[in-house]
Symmetry: C2
Subunit: 399 residues, 2 copies
């Protein structure tokens, strides 16, 4: 399995990537297009694929995650892609530019799948989503995911549910053919977007502890179980402030924060990563979809007594409303009244509400407090009672 | 001075106002178009302008505020308006419909002035703002108010600063003429938008205590200093959680919350209004303008050691940016590092950031915490490091 230290990608205009020579000027020895083959922790030496070695005092594991594969025949055929990093994206882009594409099939129904459905459809490509389950992005309440389904459908992206891939073959009408338990789909491009898994092999090879989640165990300084070895980003766990548990949450903003914390500690400052509350969002065509905290299932598993409620409010004041919908689901603990999680969906204002509620989760507010929090009121941005207040008051009545 | 109990306005389509008969069916004795002339607190009796009286056990003062007048000659001429309540708005609308309007002059430069400048301009009316100061909406940093000035200017609304009204006369080219210390302006409509003052006369007449702010003193149950007398809304004070002081903050969302708290207490529940943090927002053409907490001046006056910083970030992730700007000003206390206030401006995302920061103020977070708070990250909604994080980290370096 290759472990990239870096990769020079010349055709991506916005990205500034230094050459090894430029790095050397800054005092950083960057070996690009080089894999780490093994690590000798006793000698403090990293052995590289080019036969050379690099000695170290401090080691930072930033090995990230990799895209899950289906494990079915034909997955290595030309035109079959996963999308995990910039190199994957550029490979797909080159393929689209060079070979063209009329029909695409996306396998999976998470963020990458729905976001890429929009991206490919916007390129004029006939795009379908194939999913083994019934509804996309399973984190969200089915009332919300039905709205996502409707959005995909309105934009001409069929969602083919309850369907399992069996094999990928060389195609007839398309360049490839996806064989499923429900029939066959011709496609010029097949994107496998069925989640990711942490790259822990190098860390395991030197004896770093792996957490229950399957990612590298760290503390709030980003230290692993091994002296002098740190881990950051999608290869390691993170502390969830709501559940009080270490979880696997491979998101880009978290990785950035962990990197900064590790850097500060390595540099001699004492910095602690305060953890996350699970804030996340994506956009699918004209819908904002966002969530924070625990789902009902997670809350129950973590020992809470979750009570939930969905309200449909407005993202703006009533006099300015033009038919926009804003759905908010709140989940609170029956015993303490504390907010445990929230989800939101709508043409606008969903991410805004989730960010406010993420702060509420961060500080451990209960829904009585949330029912009266002070938000900036003006009709272009919400009602005098914001959808958040209404959601909290409605859930209060239920508890 | 009239104290409206209510008013039936038939030509406002969206508004559902019950007739007195409809009220009576619900058990509520509503006297519309009736003023309270005096109150006899010993007898527990309200004396009305129609000569009748209403006995009471509990009295709720919801007398609101009224628009400030300039105190200059000609303020009562036809075509001169203030805009405080729905009736004012309808009066102005009728005037515009019946008499037409080519030119409008707005005196003042607060929310009402800037919002009405947009509204009148959008009706195709040649609109100017006349203000005695140099910059509009003085709560905001001058770096931000300059952007508001530019926005007004780009949309063809001249901002005539450093200019004091002296008199209003019957006009020549316009129906009215505003005489100022810098010259004369002809106008068909003059809007006086120079702030509001709480209606406290009735409360004062029965001996209710008035706070330092000039509004009615209440406690967190909305009780005034008098047994059985409550006050809510724009006539009374509210507790500011950041300064720990009782202040005058006449905003619609606060009034709604206070009404609900008073109602619960009167109904026998024990409800306490947790206070505000000063969240507020308005829109001017394509700009969102929002603020929360204390300004530097207020913070200094309240005994803090404010340190501030402005950053210009992006409301979306860098790859999705189309030239939008997002300015964030944070003010923190030098001694404790605690956030004291925030301001934001931009084409989008300003209100969203202020709402998150209002929650941070609500919970008393310091800027080290804010530098790592968990916000929903996706490029359509912000960067992996959100403008909030960058603002907090930049201010940290300054403290």
């Amino acid at each position: 399995m290759p472990y990239y230290i870096g990769d020079v990608i010349k055709d991506y205009k916005r990205l500034v990537i230094r050459t090894p020579e430029e790095f050397q000027k800054t005092g950083i020895d960057a070996r690009i297009k080089t894999n780490v083959e093994s690590i000798d922790p006793r000698q403090g030496m990293v052995h590289l694929s080019d036969g050379s070695g690099i000695p170290y005092d401090i080691l930072v594991m930033a090995t990230g995650a990799e895209a899950n594969r289906l494990g079915i025949p034909g997955e290595d055929l030309e035109g079959v892609f996963t999308l995990r990093n910039l190199a994957d994206g550029l490979k797909m882009k080159s393929y689209l530019n060079e070979k063209g594409c009329r029909k695409a099939v996306i396998i999976g129904a998470g963020y990458i799948a729905t976001e890429m459905a929009e991206a490919l459809k916007n390129l004029g490509i006939d795009t379908r989503i194939v999913y083994r389950g019934m509804l996309p992005v399973k984190r969200w309440d089915s009332e919300f995911t039905k709205m996502i389904m409707a959005e995909l459908s309105e934009h001409g992206v069929p969602f083919i549910s309850d369907t399992r891939p069996i094999a990928i073959e060389i195609g007839g009408n398309g360049r490839s053919r996806l064989v499923t338990d429900k029939g066959q789909l011709e496609a010029d491009l097949i994107l496998v977007a069925t989640g990711i898994s942490p790259n822990t092999k190098l860390a395991e090879s030197i004896g770093a502890k792996i957490g229950k989640s399957g990612a590298i165990k760290v503390d709030s300084s980003q230290r692993t179980s091994l002296e002098g070895v740190y881990a950051v980003g999608d290869c390691c766990e993170v502390f969830h402030r709501v559940s009080g548990k270490w979880v696997y949450y491979p998101l880009g903003d978290i990785a950035n924060k962990q990197g900064r914390i590790a850097g500060q500690n390595i540099g001699g400052l004492h910095a602690a990563f305060p953890g996350i509350v699970g804030a996340q969002a994506f956009k699918v065509f004209n819908l904002e979809v966002a969530a924070t905290g625990l789902t009902e299932e997670e809350a129950e598993r973590d020992g809470f007594q979750p009570v939930s409620n969905i309200i449909w409010g407005l993202p703006v004041g009533r006099p300015m409303a033009k038919g926009e919908k804003l759905g908010i689901k709140l989940t609170a603990d029956k015993k303490t009244g504390k907010l445990l999680g929230a989800q939101a969906i709508g043409e606008k204002g969903a991410v805004q509400r989730i960010n406010s509620l993420s702060l509420a989760l961060w500080c451990g507010l209960d829904i009585d407090q949330i029912a009266y929090i002070d938000l900036a009121y003006a009709p272009p941005f919400g009602g005098a009672w914001d959808a958040i207040h209404i959601a909290a008051q409605t859930l209060r009545a239920k508890i």
